[in-house]
C-alpha cells in the first residue's frame, strides 16, 4: 500500500474554506447582509403631499418622482390616496406617479411615500443620447450683454465646469457689471443661467433637490443647476457655484419638464415632510434582495414554516463540529457518536435547565425499567421496541404530572427524540452491565458535557444569524471537519492517560 500525497486534499480543503469565506464576504458587500445581529441602518422616509381643489369632474394628477437620485437608493415606494387609481409610469427619462379618479369635487390631498437608503456609491445612469442645447433668441440690447458676459466667462475658463463656475460668479450681485444688471432680476436668475449655458453650447437644466433634516414638515424643493460635461450630469449650487451633491441633498426631480401636473383641479401645491428612521440592516438587505432578484440566494424566499426548519437544520453542522472537536482533539468519551448533537438540538427548543431536568429524569427512569427488561432476556429488536414505548410512557407521564403541578416546562420533554433516548438508555444499560457504573458516569457526563457545549454554541444569537444568513459558511465548517479527520496528534485526554510514561522518559 502506498501513501498517497495529501497535498491535493489540503488544496481541496483550502479551496472549500476560501470559497465559503469569499462567498460570505461577497454577499456581505454586495447585498449588505450584516455580519452581526441587530445592526441598524439609517433610512429616510420622505412623504410628498399634494393638495389641490378639484373642480367637478375627472382628475388626473401626475407627480414627478425620483429616479436614481445620486447618493441614495430607493427602498420602497407607496401611495396613499383613498378612491384614486394609482400607478407609476416610466416614460423617456422621467418617472411619474399618476393618480386618477372619475368624479371628484372639493379639496383633495394625495400622498406619496418613499424610503431612501443613503449610499455614497449610487450614481445615476449615464445618458444614452447627448442632450440638446437649444439656442435662445435675445432682443437687443440683451443679445449684446449676453454675448459679452459669455465671452468674459469663456476667456477665464477651459472646461464646461470652469465655464459654469465663472458664469455664476459673474452673475452674482457683488460682481455685477452693467451688462448683468441689465439681464438679471430675482425671478429669472436660474432660467437665465440655463438659457445662457445652453446658448454657449453647454447643455444645462434645472434640478430640484430636497434638503434632508430629521422630522421636518412642509418643506419645499430647492432648485439646483445641472450641466452636462460630455459624460454625465454635474450638479452646481446656483448661488455659490459649489459643485457636487451634498450628502443631505436628495435630488427629487432631474430632467423632467414639470414637478406636478394636475388636470381637472386648481390651486395645486406639493410639500414634503421627512423622517429619519433606523431599520435593522438584515431586514433592509432582505427587502432589497427580494426586489432586485438576488433573493433566490437566501432562505427568506421560503415559506415561514420551512424557514424555521432550515434555521434548525443549519445549526446542526455547528453541533457536528463541536462533537468532532471534542472527540478528536479533546478526547471526551460520549455514548453514541452524535447523540450529544441531537440532545443539544432538543435543548435549543426546551432551553437548558428544564431540558437537562427532563432529559435526566427520562433517562434515569428508563434505566430503572431497562433493568427489568434485561432480566427477561429479550432479543435486541423487541427490547429496543419495548424501550421506545416505555420512553413514550415516561415522557407522557412527566408532561401530565408537570402540567398538573403547574409547570409548563414539563411539556418540553416531548421535544426529545424518543428513539434516540431509547437507544441511549439501551447503550447505557449495556455499558452498566459490562463495564460498571463508573464507565456509565464517565460516558454519560461526557455526552452531557458535549451536548451542553454544542447547545451553548448553537444557541448563541450570532451562530443562528451567521448560519442562516450566510449558509456558505458551512463550507468552512466542512473544511474544518475534514481537516480534523486528518489530525494525528495527541488528544488532550491522552496527555493524561499516558502520564505514567513519565517514568520511562
Amino acid at each position: 500500500m502506498t501513501t498517497r500525497s495529501r497535498l491535493p486534499f489540503y488544496i481541496a480543503v483550502f479551496l472549500l474554506i476560501a470559497a465559503g469565506i469569499s462567498l460570505a464576504v461577497w454577499r456581505h458587500i454586495e447585498l449588505g447582509i450584516p455580519w452581526l445581529t441587530g445592526e441598524q441602518r439609517p433610512v429616510w422616509m420622505v412623504e410628498a403631499r399634494i393638495d389641490f381643489d378639484a373642480g367637478d369632474g375627472s382628475v388626473l394628477a401626475s407627480l414627478n418622482i425620483p429616479e436614481q437620485p445620486p447618493g441614495f437608493r430607493i427602498l420602497t415606494e407607496q401611495a396613499a390616496s383613498p378612491g384614486y387609481g394609482f400607478s407609476i409610469i416610466d416614460s423617456s427619462g422621467s418617472r411619474r406617479a399618476e393618480w386618477s379618479k372619475r368624479e371628484v369635487s372639493g379639496p383633495q390631498t394625495l400622498y406619496f411615500k418613499a424610503q431612501f437608503i443613503p449610499d455614497p456609491n449610487a450614481q445615476p445612469e449615464i445618458p444614452v443620447r447627448e442632450p440638446r442645447t437649444p439656442r435662445t433668441f435675445w432682443e437687443e440690447p440683451e443679445a449684446t450683454a449676453v454675448q459679452e458676459i459669455l465671452d468674459q466667462a469663456k476667456a477665464r475658463s477651459s472646461t464646461p465646469e470652469s465655464m459654469t463656475r465663472e458664469l455664476i460668479r459673474l452673475m452674482q450681485p457683488d460682481t455685477r457689471t452693467q451688462n448683468t444688471t441689465l439681464l438679471v432680476s430675482e425671478e429669472n436668475y436660474l432660467d437665465l443661467l440655463v438659457d445662457m449655458l445652453n446658448h454657449s453650447g453647454i447643455a444645462a437644466r434645472i434640478a430640484d433637490g430636497l434638503r434632508l433634516e430629521d422630522a421636518r414638515r412642509r418643506q419645499q424643493l430647492m432648485p439646483y443647476l445641472q450641466i452636462y460635461n460630455g459624460e454625465r450630469w454635474l450638479t452646481f449650487n446656483p448661488k455659490t457655484a459649489e459643485q457636487g451633491v451634498p450628502e443631505d441633498l436628495l435630488l427629487w426631480r432631474q430632467g423632467a419638464a414639470s414637478l406636478l401636473d394636475v388636470v381637472g383641479g386648481k390651486n395645486s401645491e406639493v410639500s414634503f415632510s421627512m423622517l429619519r428612521q433606523t431599520v435593522p440592516a438584515l431586514q433592509l438587505a432582505t427587502m432589497e434582495s427580494a426586489s432586485n432578484g438576488l433573493g433566490f440566494l437566501s432562505f427568506y424566499e421560503l415559506p415561514i414554516e420551512e424557514q424555521s426548519m432550515f434555521r434548525m437544520l443549519l445549526l446542526l453542522p455547528l453541533g457536528a463540529l463541536m462533537v468532532a472537536f471534542m472527540r478528536i482533539v479533546i478526547g471526551i468519551r460520549t455514548s453514541g457518536t452524535f447523540m450529544p448533537v441531537l440532545i443539544a438540538v432538543a435543548f435549543v427548543q426546551t432551553t437548558l435547565v428544564p431540558g437537562l431536568i427532563a432529559f435526566l429524569s427520562v433517562v434515569s427512569i428508563g434505566l430503572l425499567m431497562r433493568g427489568y427488561l434485561s432480566s427477561l432476556n429479550l432479543l435486541l429488536v423487541s427490547r429496543i421496541s419495548a424501550l421506545i414505548i416505555l420512553v413514550i410512557f415516561i415522557t407522557a407521564g412527566l408532561s401530565i404530572i408537570g402540567y398538573q403541578m403547574g409547570f409548563n416546562t414539563g411539556m418540553t420533554v416531548t421535544f426529545f427524540p424518543m428513539v434516540i433516548i431509547a437507544w441511549t438508555i439501551e447503550r447505557m444499560s449495556i455499558l452498566w452491565e459490562e463495564e460498571g457504573a463508573h464507565e456509565v458516569m464517565v460516558q454519560g457526563a461526557g455526552s452531557l458535557f458535549v451536548a451542553i457545549c454544542a447547545y451553548l454554541l448553537m444557541s448563541a444569537p450570532l451562530a443562528g444569524h451567521l448560519t442562516f444568513n450566510f449558509p456558505e459558511l458551512h463550507l468552512v465548517i466542512l473544511g474544518l471537519i475534514l481537516l480534523m479527520g486528518q489530525y494525528t496528534g495527541y488528544k488532550l485526554s491522552e496527555l493524561r492517560r499516558f502520564t505514567p510514561m513519565k517514568a520511562y522518559d
Binding site: 432479543l379 494525528t488 496528534g489 495527541y490 493524561r496 499516558f498 502520564t499 510514561m501 513519565k502
Partner: protein, 315 residues
C-alpha cells in the same frame, strides 16, 4: 491533575489513538478483511490453512435444530468452551471445566444443567451477544488448559499473550493476567495486569495495572519481573503467519499456551489497543517506522520473526 507534555510523548514514540486510526488501521487494514477477524469461526478456518493452531473445534451450532445434537456431543467431554462467533470483548463465552453427574461445572465454580446451556446456545444463535444483534453461530471448542508455568500468575482465567503484528513483523508483545479486580477477565482497562514482554527473548520487562507500574501480582503476590515465556520464537512465528492468513497490516494477535498442545491462537483483533505501550514502558512508533522504512521486506514468517527478535530486543 498530572499531565505529560506532548513533546515527551513524542520523544517516547507513543502511538496515539488518532494516528493509529489514520496512519495505521485505515492505511494498512483492508476493510474486506475485517469479517475474517470479527468472526471467530472464519478466523479459525483461515489460519488453519497457514498452519496456525487454534483450540480444537468440537462443534458448530448454526441452526436451532442442531442444538439437540449438542447434548450427544457433550456427553463424553470433560471441559469445553461455548463462544458466539461474532462476539466481542469476551461477551457470551461460557467455559465448562468439568462434570458432576448431569450437571456442568462452570469456570467460576457454579453448576448449570444442560437446559441452561441449550438456552444459552439459542441466545447466541439469535444474536444476543453479536455486534449489532445480527444472527450468529455458536462454536464449541476444546477447553484450553493453561500451561502451569503461566497459570500460576493469573487469578482465575487463562493468561493470554497479545502480540502486535505490523506488516507481518511482531513489533511488541505483552502478557495479560486476570485479577480479582478484573473479575477473571484479561481486559487491561477492567483491571487486568499487563506485563510487557521482550520481543527478543520473551522475558517480562515491566508490569502495569490500571496504568500504574507494579512489581507483584496483586492477588497471587508473585514477582512479575521473572516471567519467561516458553517457546517464544515459535509464538512469534505463529503470530507472523497470521499476516499471510488475513492480509491485515496492523493487528493484534492473542495467543495462549496450552499445557498439552503448546501455543494456540485465541483470536485476532483489527483494532488493537494502545495500552500495550504502557505495559512495555516504550512507544510503538519507532518500531513501526523501522518496519515501514525497510527497503527489502522479508518474505517468510520465520525470517520476519527472526528479524524482529534481533531488531527489537531490549538491552
Amino acid at each position: 491533575m498530572d499531565w505529560i507534555s506532548p513533546r515527551s510523548l513524542k520523544r517516547l514514540g507513543m502511538l496515539n489513538m488518532n494516528r493509529r486510526n489514520v496512519d495505521y488501521i485505515a492505511r494498512y487494514n483492508e476493510r474486506s478483511s475485517y469479517p475474517l477477524v470479527d468472526n471467530k469461526l472464519k478466523t479459525k478456518l483461515v489460519v488453519a490453512e497457514y498452519g496456525v493452531k487454534t483450540p480444537k473445534l468440537l462443534q458448530v451450532v448454526r441452526q436451532q435444530h442442531e442444538i439437540s445434537h449438542f447434548r450427544e456431543m457433550a456427553e463424553d467431554l470433560a471441559g469445553f468452551a461455548i463462544k458466539p462467533a461474532k462476539g466481542s470483548g469476551g461477551k457470551g463465552i461460557t467455559v465448562i471445566t468439568g462434570r458432576d453427574g448431569d450437571e456442568y461445572i462452570k469456570a467460576s465454580g457454579s453448576r448449570v444443567d444442560s437446559p441452561f446451556l441449550e438456552r444459552h446456545l439459542t441466545n447466541i444463535l439469535a444474536g444476543l451477544y453479536s455486534l449489532a444483534g445480527t444472527p450468529d453461530v455458536a462454536i464449541v471448542e476444546n477447553l484450553v488448559e493453561s500451561a502451569p508455568s503461566l497459570a500460576k500468575y493469573s487469578h482465575q482465567g487463562v493468561p493470554d499473550i497479545r502480540i502486535i503484528v505490523f506488516q507481518g513483523y511482531p513489533v511488541m508483545a505483552m502478557l495479560r493476567l486476570a485479577t480479582t479486580a478484573s473479575d477473571g477477565k484479561a481486559n487491561l482497562h477492567q483491571g487486568a495486569v499487563g506485563v510487557g514482554l521482550d520481543i527478543g527473548s520473551g522475558r517480562g520487562l515491566n508490569a502495569v495495572q490500571f496504568n500504574r507500574p507494579i512489581t507483584l501480582h496483586p492477588d497471587t503476590g508473585l514477582a512479575l519481573e521473572n516471567i519467561q515465556i516458553e517457546a517464544w520464537d515459535e509464538m512469534l512465528e505463529m503470530a507472523s503467519r497470521c499476516y499471510e492468513a488475513t492480509g491485515l497490516g496492523y493487528m493484534g494477535v492473542d495467543l495462549v499456551v496450552d499445557a498439552n498442545e503448546g501455543p494456540l491462537l485465541l483470536e485476532l483483533n483489527a483494532r488493537p489497543g494502545l495500552a500495550i505501550q504502557m505495559a512495555n514502558g516504550r512507544g510503538l512508533l519507532p518500531r513501526l517506522r523501522a518496519i515501514e522504512s525497510l527497503k527489502r521486506p522479508h518474505f517468510t514468517p520465520l525470517e520476519r520473526s527472526r528479524f524482529a527478535m534481533d531488531t527489537f530486543a531490549s538491552s
